[in-house]
Amino acid sequence: MKSKTFATFVGPSIFMMILFIALPLAGVLSQSFYLTQSVYEEVEVETCTPSFTGQICLTEITTLPMLDKEGKKVTKTTFVGLRNYRNVIEFPRVIAAFANKSWQQFMTIDFWKALRFTLTFTLLTLPLVLLFGLLIALTINNAAKSIRGPVIFISLLPMIITPVIGALSIRWLFIGDGILTSFLEWWLVRDIAMFAQAWTIELMMMLYRVWHVAPFAAIVFYAALQTVNQDSLESAIIDGASRWERLRYVIIPHLMPLIVFVTLIHLMDSYRVFEEVIGFSSQSYVISLQWLTYDFLSLDMLGNRSISRASASAMLTMIGIVILLIPVLRGVWMDYKGRRL
């Protein structure tokens, strides 16, 4: 393909990605090395507020941001190098925690707490998603042809349901005396509060994610099962391979590219776990990296955002995902080179 034709074809797509992804990202990168502050001045202010008994007026000296002639906030931007990163990583507290050999103390530092959860979440849900996906695919494949359609239909539901609604409906089932909590209480004959300790919340978040993603894996695997080479299966049978061996040596290798594909997608999606933190309001126990960035970015009551720290934490998240993806990216590179030869 000529490079001019190539450019015409990919042009619109590249343009959109540059405009809405690359440019904001470059902005985030440069923000993470700078600090933008309002300039404050001390002024005397009299404020009058209502109450039932009349008005209360207070006069006091306070610091307010300075406004320029056009009425915009005066700000100054300084280059601070890696200070924003240091503020996110908080090394002194890390060192203090290590000096005390206290894991609990280490886990009170936001960034590390978020990193710990994000990694646990990603790495624990991954095998579960693959396992459940494979099991569902195999059992669907094993079922009578007539019921496959309806079963696939039901299996697809968790995948297509709006994540916000999915998380909410799971939450309704468990919060307070929700229907499933009541069931568990009746079954285990004890009082249960699912939202009262970190591990149950974490467990629910992971189960929700597996519930939400396993169908995707299942459908991809099921589709691939339809193209398993019957000849190699039959020769395996003739060689006397057991059912397990056939699965292990014929079917799994056939599915391998798709297992890599599902792994890739799942790593990317679960590393930026966010909806679960909001949906289960877990922030008092567990937080994730994207939630941390989001929290830095939300306006506090007085209208300030910690943009610099948010940028730094976003860049750290990025670095993390690139590290996680390196093995997979290497595979893609090999594959690509191989194809070209």
Binding site: M1, M16, F20, N142, I152, V164, A224
Partner: protein
């Protein structure tokens, strides 16, 4: 399958396999089933701790709102017939009556007409018919399960969900159309190029795919709100305020969606032998003509599958739409989050549950219609990483 005997499975395996599958189906469907049940009950029943009371809804029933055996039978029959028609008859009719090359248009018109007919029959004709039948059919006509549609009418008629529905329709249509147009072009070019540039485009797209969205989206907000002032030197007085404009949101969603779209479409294109476009070029087509006349007609399964994923992304999106759209043109998902976050009464919460079911319902029908395309699209060996 020549060697049937060797493939026959022992009873234990078949049994555990079907037990697992049944278990999975219950797990998969339960949350959705449950919110549907809650949405047709009055608040006291809906949030009751006793599951039987939630299902049968005694308080709702006591207020004279319920379903009789007859209602349930007829309702279920209509639903089953609809499902059968949708998966069989409709597909045949669309295939038969669509002019060749315009199958997609046939699908759109077909599904819309079908959906409209269903709504008319199920919500329009059925209730009035059943009212008459219930009166004359004695014991079968007595209400046994609490059932009330009042929350749905609150959602759709009083809370203006119609408006949100239209906005969702606009945004998803826009996103799917533009994503696919740009995505097929790029995906095709990338599948036919083996330059280093193409490789790096793919890798960078992959990294973009992994980006946390909140980082990007919060960056847009100040720019979108001030865009009229920022763009004035460039565009003069025509400079728009991007905040609240559906097409600006569509553009953002398309961009966020591009990495996945081009990867997926690229792998579909790779399955189409390059000899095909070479042959077309020998016949004197330009690259673009070859793409349009020869490649696209065999690409429909891939386009439909990718389109469905784009649809899901746009329809289900919360972060982008809630921040960049004004309340007046918000889509359904942020609208429902608004219902939950407002200082709500318990009634409002059940109303929001009804809204949640209303959002899921179109997805339900979508899967019903396109299930075959999803599975066969993936079976076509599309997704190779």
């Amino acid at each position: 399958m020549t060697n049937v005997k060797a493939l026959r499975q022992p009873l234990s395996l078949r049994l555990s396999s079907s037990i697992f599958l049944t278990f999975w189906c219950v797990v998969a469907a339960f949350p959705i089933f449950w919110i549907t049940v809650m949405s047709v009950k009055l608040p006291i029943d809906a949030f009751n701790g006793n599951p039987l009371k939630v299902i049968f809804g005694p308080t709702t029933l006591a207020q004279g709102k319920g379903l009789s055996i007859l209602d349930i039978t007829i309702g279920l029959t209509i639903l089953i017939i609809t499902a059968k028609l949708a998966t069989g008859w409709l597909i045949r009719m669309v295939g038969k009556f669509s002019p060749s090359g315009y199958l997609w248009a046939g699908w759109i018109i077909g599904s819309l007409t079908f959906g409209l007919l269903f709504v008319l029959v199920f919500f329009g004709l059925q209730p009035s018919l059943l009212n008459i039948l219930n009166d004359i059919s004695g014991i079968l006509g007595i209400n046994i399960i609490g059932f009330s549609t009042e929350h749905y009418s609150t959602v759709w008629f009083e809370k203006g969900f119609f408006n949100n529905f239209q906005n969702s329709l606009l945004v998803t249509t826009g996103v799917v159309t533009i994503s696919l147009t740009f995505g097929t072009l790029a995906g095709y070019a990338l599948s036919r190029s083996s330059s280093n540039l193409a490789f790096w485009i793919l890798i960078i797209a992959l990294i973009f795919r992994a980006l946390p969205h909140s980082v990007l989206v919060t960056g847009y907000l100040p720019f979108f709100m001030n865009s009229a002032e920022i763009l004035r030197p460039l565009l003069g007085d025509a400079a728009p305020t991007l905040y609240g404009l559906p097409w600006a949101t569509i553009a953002v969603l398309v961009a966020i969606n591009q990495p996945f779209t081009i990867w997926m479409l690229r792998s579909f294109f790779q399955n189409i032998p390059a000899e095909l476009d070479e042959a077309a070029q020998v016949d004197g087509c330009s690259h673009f003509q070859a793409f349009r006349r020869v490649i696209m007609p065999v690409m429909w399964p891939g386009v439909i599958t990718t389109g469905l994923f784009s649809f899901l992304l746009a329809y289900n999106d919360f972060l982008v739409t809630s921040l960049l759209l004004d309340v007046q043109n918000q889509t359904m998902v942020p609208a429902i989050a608004r219902m939950f976050n407002m200082e709500t009464t318990t009634t409002d919460q059940v109303v929001a549950v009804a809204a949640a079911v209303s959002i899921v319902a179109p997805l339900f029908f979508l899967v019903l219609f396109f299930q075959r395309q999803i599975v066969s699209g993936l079976t076509a060996g599309a997704v190779k990483g």
